[in-house]
Structures are given as structure tokens and as C-alpha cells.
Symmetry: C2
Subunit: 500 residues, 2 copies
């Protein structure tokens, strides 16, 4: 069996520690055995039988190549623009949290948390999402209200399914509003943010599905589900976007143990989608008639109605769909919940969120509560869609570049020092400039490089022109040359770049 060098070093460390302990306990026989083991590990280490290091990334993770990064940068820019338009500030938190902050927040999914090794000190784990760290942040800094965004990577020790774009490390992009305000106004702002982002991405039609935890709870109450089972039934319903109703029904009956008639009654409700696209009104009366007896559902329905009034003012109701089958897997939601899908793309939810009024209180001394509502943008799925779109444009010659170089400085006969001086002059003027790191580069290779990198302008230095105090500027796409005076070079280039 092959053991990597890192593993051997780890074993060595462990055995040396053990050896020390045994020495202290004076267990002589064991000490001798430990010494033999240490000797043998050292021999394996020096015998060079260890395999050459394989230059790969950890399972379920990936590098981002320049071409992918260019797409990411584009998507982040669009999203941050919307966040800032709504007055959000940026914050940042450590990649790891104390383990006890994360424990008990993610229900069944807690087993996917990445622990940091216990190297003496506090028990820590990598963040699983950005919501719990945000709630901890609000508690730590005793913040009363904040509207913030946070773009960062999160970690889940999941079985990676790379072909389906599920990774162990991925970006999240969160926008949240914390503070005590009048009902539903922050929620409406949050949904308008989702709407603007989806519009600005230009990736096709989208629908924002909306539901309310109180309506769901009222529904369960009405159907006779015991209160202790609300959450687990919720998490069954949450699977409806991946599983059929039949599969979910079966799980509720056979795994969660509710009677078949109860499951069927739940089914009747959640297959009901209550937003009337044609009349642009919410057909809540039908639900009210049946669920109206439960106070829980009633207050949820009133909130949804008020929210929809605000969303109408914000001009986004054309994309809203009230959907009783939307449940959201996480435990901490207490009010409005929502998810967004692109109707023509089969990638699942690209933005999900809702109201969570109790989470900050769990971290605060004296249980000080700060109600929150927020959304997490599923940027990884958006990257995939955006890449597909841009690569399609690429094929049609509307091309995305990896860098932004504007001018390439070439020469016919080396002239390395003259080249460097011109490059420095262009940099001084803020122009994005490159040149070939060769003393005597071939002119054709320099041209080829320009065209490959799609640099729009090329400056050509020839000894003959230099003597006349002149220099050539070439339009790379049109392959058209123009001679200009050396002294006017920078201003001519700035003028040409302005026109591009």
C-alpha cells in the first residue's frame, strides 16, 4: 500500500509524541516498540520510495482558470452594482467560525461541516453558509441595524457531483437586512434586489416563488401534523424540486410516519399555486376559507397580501408566483420564504432566502433579538449559465477576453531599451500595455501574439523610423498602419483608444 509523504510525516509526529508519553510512564517494552516504528517510518521517508507528488486539488474542489475568472468578475460586478444601488455595505468574516457557533443550525446537513484539525486551541470549522456567520457578526458587534452584502466561499463536505456542478467549495453571494422595521418593507426591498439581479444577468425568463412559513405551519396544523413534526415534514416537502410528489409522499408516510390520509391532504394544498397570472391577483380566498381557522395561517396570509401590495408598487409582480409547495430546507426561517428559478434552464434555484427573526437572538447576550431577512444568490449556477452564454457568443466571434491589454509594443530589430522606455511612457499614462520578454523577438511572432490576445493596438519600433523621430501605430484588427511623431505617441494612442 502506498503512503504519501504527508501521511508519513503525520505518522512520524504521532509516534514521536507517543514515544514521549511512554517514556514518561516508563513503559519500557512499549518504548522499544515505538522506537522501532519511528525508525521504520524514517527509513521509508528517506528511502525515496515515496511517490512523486501529484499536482492536484482536493476532492470536490477546483481551480478557476483566467477565462472562468473573467466570467466570474463580470457576474460579481453586475450583482454588486445592484447591492450598492440598494444602499448595502460590504462586510467580511473569517473563513472559520468556532465550532459551537455552527452546531445545531443546519438540521440533518450538520454532518457536512468541515472541521479544522484540533492542533491545540479552539475547536473551529469552516463556514457552511454566510447567514449564520452574519447573525453571529450582528451579535458580536451589537449592531441594531445593517443592510450588508457578503461575497465569499463556503464549505460542505458533501459527496461531490462535479458534472452537476456540486462542489465542496463554492461562492455564495448574500444580501441581508437586519433591524426592527415596519412589517414586510425590508422583505419587499430584498425581493426587488433579486428581481433586479435576475434582470441584469439577461439569462432568460425567471420566476420568484414565494411562500410563508406561518402558512405552511397553519397548513400542517390544519391537517393534524403534530407540532414536533413540522420541521421534518417541511424538509420532506423541500425535496419536491428534485423528487416527484409520489416519492415525497412515500417518505412522509414510511420514514416520517404520518398517516396516508394526512399526506394526501397536505398534497392537495401544496399542489395548489395561488397566484392568478391573468388577473394579477392573489387567489388567497380559497386558502383562507379552509385554513382561516388557524391563527398561524391567517397571519401568514395577511403578511403575504401586504408584501404583494408593496411588490406591486416596486413593479415586480410580473415575476412573482405564490407557491404553497415551497418549503426551504433550513430550520431558521420564521416568515416569508422564496426561491428563484430560470424557467428555461434546468439548474434549479438560483436565489433563495427568507425571513429569520430568531437567529441573532441565539448568539446575543440577554437574547437580544434582531429580526433579519435576506437572500443568497446561487452564483455558481449563474456562472455556469453565463459561461454557456458567453462561449456561445465566442463561437459567433463576439469574444470575451481574459485580460484587458490595450497596446502591445513590438520592434523590428530588438531595440529592447527603446521598447522598455516606450512601455513605461504608456504605463505612466495609465494605458494597459504589454511587450515580449525577448531581446530579439521576431516581428511576426509579436503580431501573432497581438492577434491571439486580441490587443487592439500595436506600436512598432523600427531603427529607420526611430532615426526620423517616428513610430508606427497599427490597428491590429484592420491591419492598418499609421506613422506618428515619437513625441505625439501617447496622445495619439489615447485618442485611438477613446474611439474604440
Amino acid at each position: 500500500m502506498y503512503t504519501s509523504k504527508a501521511e508519513l510525516l503525520q505518522q512520524l509526529e504521532e509516534w514521536e509524541l507517543k514515544h514521549k508519553e511512554l517514556l514518561e510512564k516508563e513503559e519500557d517494552n512499549e518504548v522499544i516498540l515505538a522506537r522501532q516504528k519511528i525508525q521504520s517510518i524514517k527509513e521509508t521517508l528517506t528511502s525515496n520510495k515515496t511517490k512523486k507528488i501529484v499536482a492536484k486539488v482536493p476532492k470536490g474542489m477546483k481551480d478557476n482558470l483566467p477565462r472562468e475568472m473573467a466570467v466570474r468578475e463580470k457576474v460579481f460586478k453586475l450583482i454588486i452594482e445592484v447591492f450598492k444601488r440598494h444602499g448595502a455595505v460590504a462586510i467580511d468574516t473569517p473563513v472559520m467560525e468556532l465550532k459551537e457557533i455552527l452546531v445545531d443550525k443546519y438540521g440533518e446537513e450538520s454532518k457536512l461541516i468541515y472541521d479544522v484539525a484540533d492542533q491545540g486551541g479552539e475547536l473551529c470549522a469552516l463556514r457552511y453558509d454566510l447567514t449564520v456567520p452574519f447573525a453571529r457578526f450582528v451579535a458580536t458587534h451589537k449592531i441594531d441595524n445593517i443592510k450588508r452584502y457578503h461575497i465569499a466561499k463556503v464549505y460542505r463536505r458533501d459527496q461531490p457531483a462535479i458534472e452537476r456542478g456540486r462542489f465542496r467549495e463554492f461562492y455564495q453571494c448574500d444580501f441581508d437586512i437586519a433591524g426592527i422595521y415596519d412589517p414586510l418593507l425590508p422583505d419587499a426591498d430584498c425581493l426587488r434586489v433579486v428581481y433586479e439581479i435576475m434582470q441584469s444577468l439577461e439569462l432568460g425568463d425567471f420566476i420568484i416563488k414565494i411562500n410563508h412559513r406561518k402558512i405552511l405551519n397553519g397548513l400542517f396544523e390544519y391537517c393534524g401534523v403534530p407540532a414536533a413534526q413540522f420541521r421534518t415534514i417541511c424538509s420532506s416537502i423541500d425535496k419536491l424540486d428534485k423528487s416527484s410528489w409520489e416519492a415525497v409522499r412515500k417518505e412522509m408516510i414510511e420514514v416520517k410516519g404520518i398517516p396516508a390520509c394526512m399526506a394526501d391532504q397536505i398534497g392537495e394544498f401544496i399542489n395548489y399555486r395561488g397566484w392568478d397570472y391573468y388577473k394579477k391577483t392573489l387567489k388567497v380566498d380559497l386558502i383562507l376559507c379552509t385554513l382561516g381557522n388557524t391563527d398561524t395561517a391567517k397571519s401568514g396570509i395577511l403578511e403575504i397580501k401586504m408584501l404583494f401590495d408593496y411588490l406591486q408598487c416596486f413593479g415586480v409582480m410580473d415575476r412573482i408566483s405564490f407557491d404553497l409547495s415551497l418549503a426551504r430546507g433550513l430550520d431558521y426561517y420564521t416568515g416569508v420564504i422564496f426561491e428563484t428559478i430560470f424557467t428555461d434552464a434546468l439548474v434549479g434555484s438560483v436565489a433563495g432566502g427568507g425571513r429569520y427573526d430568531d437567529l441573532v437572538g441565539r448568539f446575543s447576550k440577554n437574547g437580544r433579538k434582531v429580526p433579519c431577512v435576506g437572500v443568497s444568490i446561487g452564483v455558481e449556477r449563474i456562472f455556469t449559465l453565463m459561461e454557456a452564454k458567453l462561449f456561445k457568443l465566442d463561437a459567433e466571434k463576439i469574444i470575451s477576453r481574459e485580460n484587458e491589454t490595450e497596446v502591445y509594443v513590438a520592434s523590428t530589430h530588438g531595440c529592447v531599451e527603446e521598447r522598455l522606455k516606450i512601455v513605461a511612457e504608456l504605463w505612466d499614462a495609465g494605458i494597459k500595455t504589454e511587450f515580449m520578454y525577448k531581446n530579439q523577438p521576431k516581428l511576426l511572432r509579436q503580431f501573432q501574439h497581438c492577434e491571439d490576445l486580441r490587443v487592439p493596438l500595436c506600436v512598432i519600433i523600427g531603427p529607420a523610423e526611430l532615426e526620423e523621430g517616428q513610430i508606427i501605430i497599427r490597428d491590429v484588427f484592420l491591419r492598418r498602419d499609421e506613422k506618428v511623431n515619437r513625441s505625439e505617441l501617447t496622445s495619439r494612442i489615447l485618442a485611438k483608444l477613446n474611439k474604440l
Copy 2:
């Protein structure tokens, strides 16, 4: 003794595993003991004796508040601008690498590597810097040449000294050029990048210290240091920026075990700074005379001379200082090395780097070599200096804001729906707009909020004006109101913002 909930859960998990193992081995007595232990942990867990969670971050780490993030964003923007001006592309790598990638790269500092817990699977560790992951990246993707930048956090399990700005998690900001090129041209480009960044930050005078590993090695050879001790003597000299020459001399003699006369001879050289500020030339003759016998030093000196010729063309020699006492701690450098300091700020090096031609080869199959040169910008120290500068400006009322909101929509009598419609209209026009999440906010509170947040314009909706189809725009700083037609609102605001 208090045990946190997270620790209890961890103990529980461990005991349950142990219990299972014992069951398989049929060690009945031990099984019973394990069961009792499990029972007791479960009781502690449910007895609610566990302490309330303290909402704090892990030791040596920190949150970044909006005000700090605004400074960071500003610094990153300046730096990225320079990177892009030099044609660099962005890349990204996972926060963790396989342990064996990091092992044996950082000399004495390897003990500071953060391990990820072994939860079954590969042994991983958080990245320690961005250079080794970059070399691994070049090998993984079989890249022949690339000029890339990478901005990301790195991790060191160091004894944190927060008051001196030393953290366990901090940003690095790296620019590297990989590829086979003519000598010193990429090195010169890299140094010009450092120069441009330091200029653009406007944080005072700076000096770029330059040395060459081959000159140092030649010097050691000349003084009679055994080759096997070059690196360890290098790492002693590297401490000269924090320790006195006397302390370093003592370490070389007493810890590293070289004779006193050898240490003194080294001292004579490294206290020599060879760049003549007045004549703007390198006084290498003196060194050449003495070190000229060693081929190693000679080739290093020739390279430094060529580099300085190029740097002269790039117009940056006014900031360059040849400094034999510069050693750089890391093992992997093979050529030019450099460090930058602000001459008036006592924060130490703010940019360090050099040439490392062998690192990629250590990760490549067939040992394919890709020579590299690069720089790491010490952004954390730069943030500290920039914050001090901006906060000073703040005190002088030239104020930095946390968000960028341009318009605040207020109303005299609630008018919540009308307010929302106007807000949506402004968002549609791309204007950064906020409003108060209240149904009946007091006008004075809204004005106060505007002034606190330094929003330049305020739109005021009053029922009387609304009836006349009019609306008020207030210049918040001048406290001057103007009535405009409702239909012209957006265009008037855009015009006013343009003037600001």
C-alpha cells in the same frame, strides 16, 4: 470544568464510534463502560448546563466592518488597476491544498500550517501563501506561460499579535510571471509593478531593496560557510529587519555554529549598501574585486547590472537600493530578491518577492521546469496605513463613506406606496436609492438619517405637492429645496448627480 456543547457533541461522536468498535471485538466490559460514558454525555447535553454560546471569532482572526471594507475595496481597486495595466489575468485556487503539496516548502515555518480535520478522505491543509498554490496550479494545468494575479486570504497558525497587526487569517495580493523568457525582463516588469502600486497608494516615500541569491551564496562561499549551511545562515540574516546585527551575529555563532571570524566577515559585506544614490550607478566594483573569484557571485552581479539597466529604462531607479543585507526567509528563491518599505512608516516590508525557477518543477511530471518571478503585496499593512490616512482626512471632514447611496426618498405623511413607486423608478434609472422601512416615519428623522449617511440628495413627498403633481428635491448639504414636476423627477435627479 466547563465543556462547550460543540466539545460534548464531538466527545459523543468519538465514544459512539469506540462503542461500535468494542462491540465488534466483543469486549463486553468495555462496552458497558462506553455505554455509561455515552449516557452521561447525553445527560450533560440535555441538562442545559451548557453555557450560552459566546458570539466571538476564532483566536487571531477578525471581522471586517463596513468602514474597514470600504478602505480595503479602495486599496484592492488601486492594486488591481496596476496588475491589469501590465496585462495580468486573474486566477483562483481552493482555500485548501493536499497536505503533501505544502509539506517541505516553508522551512522552519511549516509548523504554522493549519490542518483540516481528517474526516475520512484526503489529508488537507489551508494554504500558507499564494506562491506554492500558484506553482501547483501551473503544474496541474500544464501551463507554459502566464502572467497572473491572485488576491485571497492565507492562513498561519502563528501566535497572534493583534496589536501589531499580525493575524492568523490575512489577505495576500500576488503578481507572478511564469514562463521561459530572456533574462531579467520579467523581473524588471515585476519591479515596475511594485513601483506603480507604491506610487498610486500615495502613502509616502518608499525604497525597493534588491539583492540576488547568487550573490549571497557567493558571499557565503567566499567567507567559507559550508554549502549545507547557506540556507540557515540566510534565514539568520533575514532577521536583520527585526533584530540588531549583534543579535544576528550571536545566533550565527551560537545557534548555527559558525566561527566568530566568519560571522564578522559576513557582517562586513552585508553592512555594505552598494547603490550610489548620487551618481545613480551601482558600485559593484568593490564587491566584484572581493567576490569576483566565485562564479556564483559573478553571475549574480551581472544579472543585477542588467536588471538595473532595464529598471533605468522603466524610470524607477530613483527608488531602488541594492542591499546585501536583504536575504528573504523562504527557501525557494533562486535569483533576484526584493522587499519594499515605506521610509516614514515603521510597519516593515509592504511588498516582497523574487525569482523562483525550481518550484513548478517539484510538482511537474518529468520535472518540467517553468521559471517564475513574482511579488506578494503586504496588503494588511497597507490597509493599516491607508486607514490611518483616511481617518485623518475624516477628522478634517474629507469623509469616506461606507455605502454610496445617492438619493434618500422621504415623505411628510407616510405615503408609503407613493414612496415605493418613486424608489422603484429611481432604481430603474440605476440611481442608488434608499428609504426608511417605516409606514409613518417622522420627517425630521428621515432628514437626520440623510445627513448621518451623507446622502447628497433627498426627495420629499408631501400630499399637497402630490396633488399639484409636484415633488421636492433637497440638496442635503446646502439644505436647499427645489420643486419639480413629478414627471421630470428622474431626469432632474440624474442632472443634479452629474454635477456633483
